[in-house]
Symmetry: C2
Subunit: 627 residues, 2 copies
Amino acid sequence: MNLIASTVYLAVVVSAADPLTTRLSSPDYTSAPPNLSTLANSSLYDTWRPKAHILPVYGAIGDPCMHYTDPATGLFHVGYGHEGASGATTSDLVTYTDINPNSAPFIREGGINDPVAVFDGSVIEKGINGTPTLLYTSVNYLPIQWTVKYTKGSETQSLAIATDGGRNFSKLEHGPVIPSPPFALNITGFRDPFVFQSPIFDNILHTSNGTWYVAISGGIHSEGPSVFLYSQYEQDPNFETWEYLGQWWHEDANSTWTEEGWAGRWGFNFEVANLFALDGEGYNPHGEIFTTIGAEWSYAPIVPQVSDERDMLWVAGTQKLSENGKLEFEPTMAGFLDCGRSAYAAAGKEVRESSLPSQTSGAPDRFITYVWLTGNFYGTLDFPTAQQNWSGSLLLPRELSVGYFDVVDNALSREKGSWRIEAEHGNGTLTLATLHQEIARETLGALKSNTTTHFIQPGGTFSSSRSLNRSPNSTHYILTTTLNFSPSARNNSALKAGLSIFSGSHESTTIYYQFSNESLVIDRSNSSAAANTTLGITTNPEVGKLRLFDVPNGSNGTAIETLEFTIVVDGGVVEVHVNGRFAISTWVWSWFEDSRDVGIFVEGGEVEFGDVIFWEGLVDAWPERSA
Amino acid sequence: MNLIASTVYLAVVVSAADPLTTRLSSPDYTSAPPNLSTLANSSLYDTWRPKAHILPVYGAIGDPCMHYTDPATGLFHVGYGHEGASGATTSDLVTYTDINPNSAPFIREGGINDPVAVFDGSVIEKGINGTPTLLYTSVNYLPIQWTVKYTKGSETQSLAIATDGGRNFSKLEHGPVIPSPPFALNITGFRDPFVFQSPIFDNILHTSNGTWYVAISGGIHSEGPSVFLYSQYEQDPNFETWEYLGQWWHEDANSTWTEEGWAGRWGFNFEVANLFALDGEGYNPHGEIFTTIGAEWSYAPIVPQVSDERDMLWVAGTQKLSENGKLEFEPTMAGFLDCGRSAYAAAGKEVRESSLPSQTSGAPDRFITYVWLTGNFYGTLDFPTAQQNWSGSLLLPRELSVGYFDVVDNALSREKGSWRIEAEHGNGTLTLATLHQEIARETLGALKSNTTTHFIQPGGTFSSSRSLNRSPNSTHYILTTTLNFSPSARNNSALKAGLSIFSGSHESTTIYYQFSNESLVIDRSNSSAAANTTLGITTNPEVGKLRLFDVPNGSNGTAIETLEFTIVVDGGVVEVHVNGRFAISTWVWSWFEDSRDVGIFVEGGEVEFGDVIFWEGLVDAWPERSA
């Protein structure tokens, strides 16, 4: 749970009853913007609003959380922080139905256990009496942050059960079921309980098959971040008693998987840990254990109440019983789930093949995660939120699996990074494993099929930037292309290649790869004329570390692997996906109406581009809202 | 904390602002009473109101609790349940000053930790920053009772600190410091934290000198009552972390010290445990460990939400470390602190010789306890409370010590009872030890010195009942007398001897001892004409088990020990103290104005009475209220 963002809502809402009626006439996008914070409330509602993404009708969105497949309907419920927690149902991972009118919450603060706030939680789908049962962080005191003294009792874990098909989660009339952090730990945080079952854990711990576990995120002052593990006590069907099993995972404060930057920093406090197992197809409880976590940290000197950075990471690893009988996690590889600095707090859930979306698409058991994209950098930006009347979005759902790919066995592939060696073939090649992530198949398929316009710009080999013959007319599209680099590119420190988007006579945003520091960059420095007039319109670059490996190419030849872009532009949301194992997402607050062009971007060398394929229009994820 | 009584307040208050102004003209006590519940509100305010006892200006009084000597002033603060908890200060244990006008509480429910209720607590006198610091039971859910399923999280233990000299206890802005009962115990209760220091505990447990401990009262469903022990963790000066040390004391459900009835029943759930050490003079932390506890139980079949009986017991015992390193208590003797069925929930505190009362009286370190006398049998009686506009009282303060007395070594003294053998002298005598309790010396002294009338009725040997030559004119007096029984009396099953009080043409109450079942009885069957017209005026007898031992008498002779009565009558409150080791207290709701006589009561034999000495008037404990 991001604590700053969770308090944004009050400043945002202009009209709860019917925000549509309060929207004013559109600003003039043909001339330079005024200070946007001087505009009428809600006048920017449409300017950067995504259509295929998940966000409430109005107001701020916080962390995704509390997803579940309702066993009674097969519908998948996607939850998110909003006046407590709100959510939507989907039968296809494409379109969504608000669980309540106006995105009203299904749970909110104000109970005996949670007088101050409701933070993230997760759902046991067949819980108490077979009903979806939510375990969530009930909050009693604020502020809470890893940079300040922890107020005892701030965060406890409480239960609520679905009623009315999930339109409300009714809090159980008893106290928290996890009423305190482990004894005498000077914690930095203790929240975001993630419930799961694991035959692997059952086996190692000699617990009954089907035991429920809870991973709780946090850390210990001056020691570092931790995931605290609990198990259902004596298979209590009411889930009232959870036994502490120790720190499943702990890292030293301010440490990192590798200082080379492949997996950010472990930081000082973990949030939103998800714990699940994957194989090459998707979710498999007998597979490889993964966790996705949010890691909070700051540059020195640490300023109270300020977390400079939040890294959204994934980690895979092995489990072992320690000498004192505690189950402990040892990472084997780690990376960013999304490199965007505003992308955080991912929350996922296993989505079984029996769910409605999977029944339709034929997908196997999957683990699907939603990443949050904060609209005001965790509440620290003075964005013209009242003018927009909403803040933040979830990113498109992603399905996760273990990805395997063959590479040349060399220093690049042997470095400690966001991959591990799965197999050594003895012929100069390795099979690497990493987290494979793709936009959910139904979502991606729908974005490509339910479009208003589809066109292809032929590729070619380019040594300079150029406009495409045709560009989208809107800010709602998906495009793919590929870049092939010659072997010499790896040592060409001047080379930058990719695409420009939101380009026009005044603005442009560039998405490019460079070998110099092996990074994928979104250069937003000229992305918004509004940045010149308005606070909170940030234009700092987004940078993600991405390695293009050497791969076998023909008989004994090698090549740099192809960079495969999938870029989603949806209002102000830009998602850049590369090679099924890299994502970087951000906001681009382009202002001018003519900033619609997409172009080839090349500097310092020559690159072979594949076709640039456009699907414009995207799906309206909320058909019932516009009805 | 008695849970039923704690909710009585709402039904009781007629006028908070100035109850005096709303009192109506006195009822007619010269003729038979009407149904008292038909009278005007507050019209019975004075009828049975005590003057030397502690009770609030109006409304109900609950458990005594939260006493302390303020280190800044030396004043002793006496607390009690009332709209939360209220209290008064005293410099002499005789007169009291309300800590707040109109007995307004110094703490009340409604905070984040205690939205529903504030139950009993105790005070670390030099606590956080040297300030009196209260540890109390913060309540989140009701109902709570040993007869029903325990609602998880109902009772936690929280801190508050004295401000404004104790006129307010400010709740600390963090969660409970003992946020839950011990792991996975299906408890019956978890409340009334009693803080103490003990060099004995320090020594056995190898903890730092001066460590604070907490005894929390409760029990475990189907297992029985318990006292849970905690210690201050690493001498945390903020008292935020308490380590669970195990069940210091546990008894099987529905068991007893002895079925002979010397110490009631352990029952099913403990409340209000105090834990302290005494020697022959008073409080001595190196002395013998005592606990006073309330034990809840019912006759079979147990009815949900009904606790038929509440025994107010004392217990002494030894400590030992169990094999698993837990400190465990083993009783060596146990008895009733007060045998009255309405007397319960005693709360005491060590009162040092440096306190203001002790400085004046020259008393050594003492442990002084106040017993509660419920006015409506724990909320179960339909007493005309609105007409009285108050309910219940505390009994007079008692100082506790270890009492020693020499007896003949025979079956009587060797029985397992409310005493233990301190020494065997080999000459046919034993020294027994027991809990010695006396009305606090200052209180008793003041009741005998600050009187309006003092007179003595000469004693004599009587074989029948008779009026005294002179009786008090009021219902506020203290009297003493002695009864000497001939050796044959022990086998005289018809013999009953004592005093009648509140006697007149229509009513009488008899206080007598009988050897037939070794009991002290208060026969209230004819005590109140109002019982014939009004619900809730109970007339059932009060019975307490009391052994008069054989004692050495001259050279080789033996005698039955003298029965020494001290009886306090204060409005409707009657306290009967015998031989410094027995007390039985109750209400007598005498109605008629002429029911003032005191008489000798003898049936079935002959008894030698000493002088009956009266001190009439008693002290007004609340001079500032009547001002």
